[in-house]
């Protein structure tokens, strides 16, 4: 479900959002947003003024209508952002149908209970075709599970007791076999429930930056309230009477309604963008922290390199032709179904034209599988033994000695970050196969951009330092942590944090849990253990570690969008002053006309145009707020210059043009 992205203007979302915009007018909920609350009170007062004041009812009425629109547009923006989440939540909810469960009693017998009666610690048995009634850990058996309800991925996954793939999620379905699961969450607290709550934004708490921004916006609102209120006595002294309607119009134009109206929508949309990438953030705080991250800890396997190594070269020993070596290598790899083994067969064909042999043709062959003890695999064929394996093991196999050329080749490959596999017969080593880690395409470029943004990338690997250094160099990461144990990871994170840096990492195993909990942004893989998922503050449903990079980008984009719209909103005030102030004073002091730089038609049309602009700009910016400003991986200096130019300078210029256009339209329509 989540993988599909929604068009911003999906009618399924827009229609209920319009209704919600009206529901949100409730002042009790409005007060959470001081800027819009003041606007609403202003709208209310002008509505009263329509009937109470002596002024032109057409003018006061229109101001009042547009003030209401300002509030409604802001509500609509928030409702739109929430609506997108709600649509997703509904799909999720659909999967949470009432299920029954077979609870295993202490005496081993099972009883049928409803899923919401299950408590933490209960053990249930689930057979093929049944839905898993709640989150838990497999304690017995293995099964294929359809997790498409959560991940949108239709291919089933294997879950088994023990190890790092033991957790199951309520709402998913067992396709084959039978498992026993110990339930780890009470009803209402399950992963699915949390997910629904998150995407719906029901329990949304303001994030630290959002709070700070709200404080600034509130301070500005109070300041402008003062500015407008004191204008009454100031005007009286100078012999000008300002009407309440005009003062309220000025007030609403000056307070930062644009950002005030869109602030919560931006936050919700940020989480929503993550959900569309199939990443669930446990809190908005985590998304914000992602933007602040200074260090990315990336697992080598799966993130930086493709999961497997490939054979790229045969290096024959003296007196052995490349063809002979390739032939022996192919023979020893025939039964090797690992990606590495297959890559050797492929390389033998490509380089030396050795055709693939069918296992069935070699009836007299005895295949020797790889074991952790021998660390070799191979084949015994026609009295000849072919083996390939790690250098040390093969050295022992051939009697403890390699020729110096073989030794040199092994060292050379290791130092390049590759894995040397030595191929041998019982008598002597034939040569070396160069197995290479294949670094994913485009990563070096991406890391380069991260470096420009001041983010350090660190590769975590179990390889020895030599190999790690070579791969780190090729991938373009800034640092690496070789032969890393979970404790090393934790220590590394702590060290970086003491230095004031924020760290993000991915992990899946139970032994990753402490590091995930310690990291500022810990993305747990959905395939990982329950412990890892609990420890992290995000879960990647696709279990793709590379996504950490996108998570950081989304976090940054969220902060940038807030900053850009705040700057835009505040810069807007300049033009509004030039529209409204001359209009307010023109009747009492006609001499001030030159200040009307936009040559607006009349005082009333000037004020009305500013108010309309103020309302319309919210609607116009909803797509930007929901989509986020364009993300560019640039250094802070370049980014600041660019965004200041667009949103700062743009924020000063755009309203001049906008207000003028609206003024031309409303005077053409004779609205005032």
């Amino acid at each position: 479900m989540a993988a599909q992205s929604r068009s911003i203007f999906d009618p399924k979302i827009i229609v209920p959002a319009v209704g919600d915009a009206f529901k949100k007018l409730n002042p009790i909920t409005m007060i959470r947003n001081p800027v819009m609350f003041v606007t609403e009170v202003g709208a209310l007062v002008t509505t009263v003024e329509v009937f109470a004041s002596q002024e032109s009812k057409a003018f006061t009425g229109q101001i009042s209508v547009w003030l209401w629109f300002t509030v409604l547009f802001a509500n609509f923006a928030e409702a739109m952002a929430e609506g997108r989440g709600k649509a997703q939540a509904n799909t999720l909810r659909a999967s949470r149908t009432q299920t029954t469960a077979n609870r295993v009693r202490d005496n081993g017998q099972t009883e049928q209970v409803s899923a919401d009666q299950l408590r933490k610690g209960d053990v249930v048995r689930i057979i093929a075709g049944e839905a898993i009634p709640g989150d838990g850990e497999i304690i017995e058996g293995a099964a294929t599970v359809d997790e498409s309800a959560i991940t949108g991925e239709s291919a089933p996954v294997i879950r088994e007791a023990g190890g790092d793939r033991s957790s199951v999620t309520g709402g998913t379905r067992v396709l084959s076999d039978e498992i026993k699961v110990r339930i780890s969450a009470n009803p209402g607290e399950s992963f699915l429930d949390r997910m629904i709550g998150l995407v719906e934004g029901a329990k949304r708490q303001k994030t630290p930056n959002e709070i700070a921004l709200t404080i600034l916006l509130s301070a500005l609102t109070i300041i402008f309230l003062l500015v407008c209120m004191t204008l009454l006595p100031f005007g009286k002294f100078s012999g000008v009477d300002f009407s309440p309607t005009v003062l309220i119009a000025l007030l609403v134009c000056l307070i930062p309604t644009t950002i005030g109206g869109l602030l919560s929508a931006i936050g919700i949309a940020g989480i929503d963008r993550l959900v569309q990438k199939n990443v669930l953030a446990m809190s908005g705080r985590a998304v914000e922290a992602a933007g602040d991250v200074d260090v990315l800890l990336l697992d080598k396997t799966g993130t930086i390199t493709l999961g497997n190594r490939q054979a790229v070269e045969f290096i024959p020993a003296p007196g052995v032709t490349a063809h002979e070596l390739a032939d022996a290598a192919q023979l020893s790899s025939l039964a090797d179904e690992t990606p590495e083994g297959r890559s050797i067969v492929v390389l033998a064909k490509q380089q030396e034209g050795i055709r693939g042999r069918e296992l069935t043709q070699l009836s007299n062959a005895e295949f020797i599988p790889f074991t952790a003890q021998t660390r070799m695999s191979g084949v015994d064929l026609d009295g000849q033994s072919y083996r390939k394996g790690a250098a040390d093991s093969v050295r022992a196999y051939v009697g403890g000695k390699f020729s110096s050329e073989i030794d040199a080749a092994v060292t050379a490959i290791s130092s390049k970050g590759g894995t040397p596999l030595v191929v041998a017969t019982k008598e002597k080593a034939l040569g070396v196969i160069y197995l290479k880690d294949i670094v994913k395409g485009g990563l070096a470029d991406r890391f380069e951009r991260f470096r420009a943004m001041g983010i350090k990338t660190v590769m975590i690997t179990g390889d020895n330092p030599l190999t790690a250094a070579a791969i780190a160099k090729e991938a373009g990461v800034d640092d690496f942590l070789a032969q890393a144990t979970p404790e090393d990871k934790l220590a590394y994170i702590r060290r970086e944090q003491t230095g004031g840096r924020l760290v993000a990492m991915t992990g899946d195993g139970t032994n990753d849990a402490p590091a995930l909990a310690q990291a500022d942004v810990g993305v747990a893989m959905n395939t990982g253990t329950q412990a890892a998922k609990e420890a992290g503050n995000m879960v990647d449903l696709d279990s793709n570690p590379t996504k950490l990079i996108e998570v950081v980008e989304i976090g940054k984009q969220l902060l940038m969008t807030r900053g850009a719209l705040t700057t835009f909103s505040i810069a807007n005030d300049v033009a509004k002053y030039f529209a409204i102030i001359p209009a307010m004073l023109l009747l009492a002091f006609p001499a001030i006309a030159p200040l009307n730089v936009m040559h607006l038609a009349s005082p009333n049309s000037a004020i009305l145009s500013a108010v309309i602009f103020n309302a319309v700009v919210i609607i116009a910016l909803i797509p930007l707020a929901l989509r986020g400003v364009q993300f560019r991986a640039l250094g802070a200096d370049a980014l600041l210059r660019r965004n200041l130019l667009i949103y700062g300078l743009g924020g000063i210029i755009v309203p001049f043009i906008g207000i003028k256009i609206i003024d031309v339209i409303i005077s053409a329509l004779h609205l005032v």
């Binding site: 930056n209 301070a219 500015v227 012999g239 943004m453 940038m560 850009a564 802070a636 600041l640």
Partner: protein
């Protein structure tokens, strides 16, 4: 400007030595005195204070000195030098409201003077009651700035320095040594420094003025219609002030105090005798505030940032000077229309000796910095010419600003600029490695809010309440104590409370401010403008000092270079000044346009 640029670095380095407890070249001489003072005050110079203790010490010091000055002024006629030496005028005790106003005003480095110095204050009051505050309040300002800079520079620290140590060192190593040489120089330029009675000089031309006729018991005689009867009086002599002027002028300028010895302030020949003294006085106003920006760069180990702050200040300053000069040089279109040729521009209210440029320059400097000394009458400037000083004060005195106050005021805008624009680089805003979070924004917002509230609130009270002064004698319009009505009268009110809140102390004059109501409200405005700004700033200093330092990298928010300078100027204008635009529009702006239609006030 060039000379200011030249002295910024050496003085900045010296300030760094003074404020960071390093030994200065004066150490051999003053070190023992300094240590003796600590023993006397029972201060352990090595024990630092947290922000709350530091602020409490500062508030205590300010309160005690303010009460002291209040007492001196109230008891003036029981204290030495009241009319014995200066002979001509016997100085009586000062009224409670004026004493409160003056004490508050001098404590807060405002030096608003609702009195006429030469007529009201005895030499003792001038020296002990007032000039002392010129030192004290200046030192407090510098100390607070130093504490804030330390807060920015330190990390994971609970302390921001020791107030008493800062106070002592600023006096001994900075203000006193410079003032001694500076005062000596001013004496050489012809400023009196004595305890003589006022001189009397025979006028070469007799003048006749009209004064209210008084009866035997000194009450004004009124005619049947109730109007005061005027009579001719021939004036043959002129009283010439004397007194310990030079010493007070030195610190008045250096400490951006601005409280003159005589009413005419720096327009008076005895306060500002020569072009050289005029130039040096202007330079000395900016000297310490400018050097403090260098100190900032040095202390936070980012000299480019210090220069960027300096650059933003210099840019706003230059625009102000040029605008003011242009407006004054153009003069009033009404006079042109009436056939008066103003070759020198608008000379009304200006000292012939200084002319347009030096008056406009002085006005801009004195209001950019919160000095408030004047060498011309701002009330008589053209509307736009007068708008510049008013606008400068309303910005918050951050263009170089008052000693210390300018820097800490500007740093508030730096924090706001970093917060607003910082999000745009996609990180939680950081200022020199410190995260700017809800608490800092709250305090910075509070500062801006309180300044706006005090200026606009009091001005609204003054403008809106029933009149506090006599109605306009010609039109009988309400004036609320202002000399003029309409927009210009409003400008006078607005200027008064801007000046008080901004701790500037210069006056648009033209307002009869020595009334109980004005004295009290202005005093309150000065106190609010000073302490409601300092306390949140100290809270920021404490909060920043405790924060972890995020190491700088390519992703850190740049706080130097042109982008930052423009951003900072933009923030100052958008956050600091836009609030006052409607009020300014009603005052000087309207007046400017009306001037072109021939309407005057």
């Amino acid at each position: 400007m060039g000379i200011l640029l030249l002295i910024t670095k050496p003085l900045g380095i010296y300030l760094f030595q003074v404020l960071d407890g390093k030994n200065t070249f004066l150490e051999p001489v003053l070190g023992p005195v300094e240590r003796f003072t600590y023993r006397l005050l029972r201060v352990d110079p090595r024990r630092e204070q947290g922000w709350k203790q530091y602020t409490a010490a500062m508030l205590l010091f300010s309160l005690v000195t303010m009460v002291f000055t209040y007492a001196v002024l109230r008891l003036q006629d029981h204290l030495p030098f009241h009319g014995i030496i200066d002979g001509l005028l016997n100085k009586t005790a000062i009224t409670p409201d004026l004493a409160f106003n003056t004490a508050a005003s001098f404590t807060t480095n405002t030096n608003w003077q609702a009195y006429t110095g030469e007529n009201t204050m005895s030499y003792f009051s001038q020296m002990v009651g007032l000039a002392s505050h010129n030192f004290w309040s200046a030192a407090v300002g510098i100390a607070i700035a130093a504490a804030l800079v330390r807060g920015i520079a330190r990390h994971e620290s609970g302390t921001v320095g020791n107030f008493w140590v800062d106070l002592v060192r600023i006096h001994y190593y900075l203000l006193l040594p410079i003032c001694i040489f500076y005062a000596a120089f001013l004496i050489s330029q012809g400023i009196p420094q004595n305890f003589k009675p006022y001189d009397t000089a025979q006028l070469t031309e007799k003048q006749t003025i009209q004064v209210p006729k008084t009866d035997a018991s000194n009450n004004p005689v009124k005619d049947t219609a109730g109007n005061v009867v005027l009579q001719d009086q021939s004036v043959e002599t002129q009283s010439i002030v004397e007194g310990p002027i030079a010493s007070q002028i030195a610190i008045k300028m250096l400490g951006t105090n601005g409280g003159g010895f005589v009413n005419a302030n720096a327009a008076h020949p005895f306060e500002n005798p020569t072009p050289l003294s005029n130039f040096l006085q202007m330079l000395s106003i900016f000297a310490i505030p400018s050097a403090l920006t260098y100190y900032l760069g040095r202390a936070v180990k980012n000299q480019k940032h210090g220069w960027a702050v300096w650059g933003a200040m210099a840019a706003i300053f230059l625009v102000g000077v040029i605008t003011c000069w242009k407006a004054e040089a153009d003069g009033s279109p009404n006079l042109y229309r009436n056939g008066v040729v103003q070759t020198d521009g608008n000379m009304e209210g200006k000292e012939m000796r200084f002319g347009i440029f030096n008056s406009a320059l002085f006005a801009t400097i004195t209001t950019d910095a919160s000095c408030g000394a004047v060498n011309s009458m701002h009330d008589s400037f053209t509307p736009i010419g007068g708008l510049v000083p008013l606008f400068n004060i309303q910005l918050g005195e951050i263009v170089f600003g008052g000693v210390g106050a300018g820097l800490y005021g500007m740093l508030i805008f730096v924090i706001l600029a970093v917060f607003i624009a910082g999000l745009m680089v996609g990180r939680t805003p950081e200022y020199l490695g410190k995260k700017i979070q809800a608490f800092e924004v709250k305090m910075a917002g509070l500062v801006v809010l309180v300044l706006t509230l005090s200026i606009l609130g009091f001005a609204a009270w003054a403008a809106g309440a029933n009149n506090f002064g006599a109605p306009d004698p010609v039109t009988n319009a309400l004036t609320n104590g202002t000399n003029n009505n309409g927009p210009h009268g409003f400008s006078e009110i607005l200027y008064t409370f801007s000046s008080a809140t901004g701790n500037n102390g210069s006056a648009f004059a033209g307002i009869g401010a020595n009334t109980p109501w004005y004295n009290t409200t202005i005093a309150l405005a000065t106190l609010i403008g000073r302490f409601f700004m300092i306390v949140p700033i100290m809270a920021i200093a404490g909060s920043l000092a405790a924060k972890k330092l995020v190491p700088a990298g390519p992703g850190s928010f740049p706080v130097d270079g042109w982008t930052f300078i423009i951003l900072l100027i933009g923030t100052v204008l958008l956050i600091g000044a836009l609030n006052f635009l409607p009020a300014l529009a009603l005052g000087p702006v309207v007046e400017h346009f009306l001037m072109y239609t021939g309407k005057l006030f």
